[in-house]
Amino acid sequence: MTTSELPLVKALNAGLKKALADDAKVLLMGEDIGPLGGVFRVTEGLQAEFGDRRVFDTPLAESGIVGTAIGLAMRGYRPVCEIQFDGFIFPAFDQITSQLAKMTSRHEGLISMPVVIRVPYGGHIGAVEHHMESPEAYFAHTPGLRVVSPSTPNDAYWMIQEAIASNDPVMFFEPKSRYWHKGPVDFEASASPLHSSRVVRTGTEVTLVGHGAMVNVLLQAAELAASEGTSVEVIDLRSLSPIDYAPIIASVQKTGRVVVASEAPGFTSISSEIAATITERAFYSLEAPVLRVTAFDTPFPPAKLETVYLPDADRILEAVDRALAY
């Protein structure tokens, strides 16, 4: 039996464990990742198994975590940094965007930067300020970084290993509201390429595109649409930089209508980028403008308002109806 039913957090744990076992240069570092196993328990048990030289707690300083990871990578290590929450990544912004992202380019390719930065992100957990944000577009905007986000336990297991194996820096956004949802993990199937997007539900009338926890919302919306007689296709982006457009364009050529959704504010977002590219590459296939369904362009509100702020299946369906009205 090579398949197990695991929650996403356990799949990540298994993927990290495999990476640590496969390559002695892989290190895990971050706040509270040792004996505690991380605030979400992603690294639970790994320090006990691999020792405190391979899996170690750092001082409480995000810039320090990423900056020292750069030095460790220069020395030949493959550090995997945990940033505790999405909203805590900004103290490390210079080290990620000006240092890590540019180090290979500045060295004209003479060195690689195999650093992974894991970021639990997104809402739907009822938490306090700075604990539910979706900052992935800042990093997708930065040349030199790769940005990915799994939506299922199986992808979490494989993509974390692929990210660690990459010789480029990878921002690894983990949909924290999906951490405790179970799904099948196939421990032997060959992995999809890290930067591929995937059709996760086929349909004929409207294409829905999203990533991370939003994929589950899109699948809910597709199910509801089906019950009303509308056939909806759903695409899981998986990779936010680079974006694999081939399945998206193929889908648009079939449906002619697209709704792009995300938990992040929509202004200058991943959703905007995809909308613009579809318009450039599939203009004559479009029957309606590409519509975006995103969070509002405001700070993440107090948790009791998050269900209004974050797109849900109803808001997706409202956009589906608008697209179909053209």
Binding site: L27, A61, S63, I70, R75, D94, H107, P242
Partner: protein, 371 residues
Amino acid sequence: MQHSSGMIQLLSIDGTVNPDEASAEYLPYIEALSDDDLGQFHRDMVTSRRFDLEATNLQRQGQLALWPPAHGQEAAQVGSARASRPQDHLFPSYREHAVALVRGLDVFEIVRVMRGVTNGGWDPSAYNNFHLYTLVLGSQALHATGYAMGVSLDGATATGDPETDEAVMVYFGDGSTSQGDVSEAFVFAASYQTPEVFFLQNNQWAISVPVSVQSRIPLYLRSEGFGVPGIQIDGNDVLASYAVTRKNLDEARAGGGPRMIEAMTYRVGAHTTSDDPTKYRTNDEVASWILRDPISRFEKYLRLRGEGDAFFAGVASDAEDFAADLRTRTIGIPIPPTNMIFDNVYSEPHPVMDEQKRWLDAYEASFGGDA
């Protein structure tokens, strides 16, 4: 310069060696140096200053975009760099031209950066582990600390053999000490007890802002609160810089943990060729520091030891040849190919780089090859 009571100085301004009690413990490091070693210190400092002059002239003639001169800081840089061992890794800021020379970097590489044909481009492993310049101040302190953490993880330090045990030295300035990254580097270095020396050149000015705005306490005390012992030296005394750095690097490589050296020196020139220091500091202040000039002080010392005119004339002549060669090579630097924009952004193939490179090639070709 305020001489705090603990400042280590071996060489007086008149070129004589008159250490106080605290400084005298460093004399054995100097007594172990040969005449050739001492001559090399002078040669390094003179070459660096001539390099600065030539690069400044090249900038004024439009050949370089910018030049940040190291004039005045040669003793701090040469002494500390000569104290490092071949297996050590050095992480500079952007004014460490003399350190670069000592570590064997072809300093033409720095000129290429300042001419605008690369953002770095040299291989640290090909130049005795002299890493790339860093322009975002203080960020290199974390890279050095992470590197030193890796040295420890490798077991490449603290084995008891100073000939092979590795250490790391990071250079930064008084302005950088206010950056959070430098404080975080102290925290990480202390926590992991890295084999590392933080070498601070306090040149008194962060562009136009005096050091009093950065710190109300002497900066060598700054690191103490983080658990990184600090020591202050006369940074215009190449012998103090050498001896104190040698001792601290060897203690760090022996497992003694990180430490900081604050070298009190002065940026005699402008911050860069874009700066105008007459707007914020007095001629009297500059003159008072020129009296403490590191090269003339050391020349007096060498002459008192019996070195003659022929030696100094030979060094000066070699520096002229060096400068002439640099000028010729600089003027011949071609504009890099446009492919450089896309190459090496990533280590592995990337579809967006491929696509945009192809587009630019086609766009340029559309002009019929005359563009």
